[in-house]
Symmetry: C2
Subunit: 335 residues, 2 copies
């Protein structure tokens, strides 16, 4: 029996986006895409008494906005999938207590957006469930203190550093036709080019993005020209330049390409170093900014290559390099 996967990719026939909810922190709200998000908070605490609870509030709000648009309740959804950056997927799991429906925790670091959307799509395409919610979140202050140092220490940053986006996105997928569908998924391999600097994630992740993009093109016999836009998750200014060079060295014509980490912020004016990262980065740009353009048919087909550095601070302390992964989904207007 031949499987439905073409290499590491699969084409979907029956997966549609119904609704989404996007929430963000102050810098994302003040950034160039700020007006596209459903809700922006003016401070990093979001009215909660810890950053971790603030992240959970953003995620809950994104879910409530997503469901309210369709007049649905938590219990109306068959299954929830999600991940975040906090150790042991804290944000999604602690929120899942309130949901009382089956929950699948996934982890792909900043690639979790595409992984949760992709796995949800697989379950719907197979006819296993009718509706699934994919959700992700990240928070600058929770990620900084977990992966680097608490922001209060004021540790000086390397210029290659990226800035974890503060935000959350929930997306409802079903098998019933809407205006925009998830058209394909390419699952990533874990790639490690021996980069070991946790303050230079873009360089570490670029090879994973390269691998997934070239695999996607090969599996589905496509090129950049088949997309109105190709975005990588969060390589940011420096990393996305590396990726471009890697692609061009293979004689690949790079057109309509941008990086969510560069789009979410004004990297010239806002203090975000190389640009954005975190699960929320590609999720906010895709579902907040690109999805409405797909609905309005300003874009017809986009490829989202969410990148993730599968970094463990414990292993960095043991002098190991950083494994990275990129999962890609394509979104398409339903004609």
């Amino acid at each position: 029996m031949s499987s439905r996967f073409l290499g590491n990719s699969i084409k979907f026939n029956n997966v549609y986006i119904v609704s989404t909810g996007t929430t963000c922190g102050p810098l994302e709200f003040q950034g160039p895409l700020g007006t596209y998000f459903d809700k922006g908070f003016n401070d990093h605490h979001c009215g909660e008494d810890s950053f971790e609870k603030a992240e959970r509030k953003m995620l809950r709000d994104s879910l409530d906005i997503c469901l309210k648009r369709e007049k649905l309740k938590y219990k109306d959804i068959d299954i929830y999938l999600g991940g975040d950056l906090m150790n042991q997927n804290t944000t999604v799991h602690y929120l899942a207590r309130e949901i009382t429906k089956p929950f699948i925790g996934i982890y792909g670091a900043c690639s979790s957006f595409a992984l949760s959307m992709g796995l949800s799509s697989l379950l719907i395409e197979a006819g296993f469930v009718n509706q699934a919610i994919a959700m992700v979140s990240s928070h600058n202050a929770t990620a900084e203190r977990q992966y680097r140092y608490p922001v209060e220490y004021g540790v000086q940053k390397k210029p290659t550093t990226t800035f974890t986006a503060t935000g959350a996105v929930s997306t409802l997928l079903t098998h019933q036709p809407t205006q925009v569908r998830v058209e394909s998924l390419t699952l990533g391999r874990v790639i490690d080019y021996s980069q070991d600097d946790p303050n230079d994630m873009g360089r570490a992740m670029a090879p994973a993005a390269f691998d997934t993009i070239t695999t996607h093109f090969q599996d589905l016999k496509r090129s950049f020209k088949d997309y109105d836009l190709v975005v990588t998750g969060d390589l940011s200014t420096y990393g996305h330049q590396i990726l471009k060079e890697m692609l061009q060295r293979q004689k690949i014509d790079v057109v309509h390409y941008n990086d969510c980490g560069c789009m979410l912020y004004d990297t010239q004016k806002q203090e975000v170093f190389q640009g954005g990262s975190g699960c929320a980065c590609s999720a906010l740009v895709t579902m907040g900014y690109l999805y409405p353009q797909l609905k309005e048919k300003k874009l017809k087909r986009v490829l989202v290559v969410a990148t993730g550095a599968l970094l463990s601070p414990m292993m960095s302390a043991q002098k190991e390099s950083i494994p990275c992964v990129a999962h890609a989904i394509s979104l398409e207007v339903v004609e």
Copy 2:
């Protein structure tokens, strides 16, 4: 369109176990099931210079044993799914660098065994892939220093504590008939009964096991009598007693029931407090001990309810209670 899920459960028609590999640490090797495991290490370092690398070695060995049995290489498998307890799924992701095939990171704490087996089964049942490897690991020393204190501190333990099992299990699943199949999956809800003591996981997880078992019975119209054996993941002596009482209070006849945490060790003679926990606990007992009995038809059908405490030490410090989950799979002899 009706989905294929019956409530939170699904029955499979085309998912079979081909092969498995089981590795364990010294206490598991000396325990009552020690002779059933493929490879036992005599010390917690497994010849590596850190506990984290030791855990990875155990996982790699389990994968190599699993594949060698079928004369397969890493690249022959369509997809890998896995999870472990180390922050950011360290063990599986750092090993995945060597695999160079699509990798899906899942996280369900100690329930990750059933979650990875269940998701692999969904992908095979749908015809998306032909072969999948589900893999999990845990290591007492890596888990202790992450969730509690480094073992070297010699912190005194509460009698309600469970003991994280040291071991790793890889399992190859396909759509081609073998002697034993994965017959069904029940995905768990995240349940929290306001237990906040990270040294009393059994009590925290029992309600999640209760929810998944009763849901499984309701969805598939079954009872304990439909199984030759029902095992919970790692409630251990105290927690499995709580679960029994919860079930009996609902007039449910509890027969053929045991807990993997009580089976993996001799809780009277070995210093493991209430018994075993960790991803490897239910995985070792199921794939090392029960699977051979299914192959030999000594058991016909078993239900494995892998429980997981989705604990974040950060949230425990913030006085939050512990979210828990249990995912269940049933394994059946192919007649």
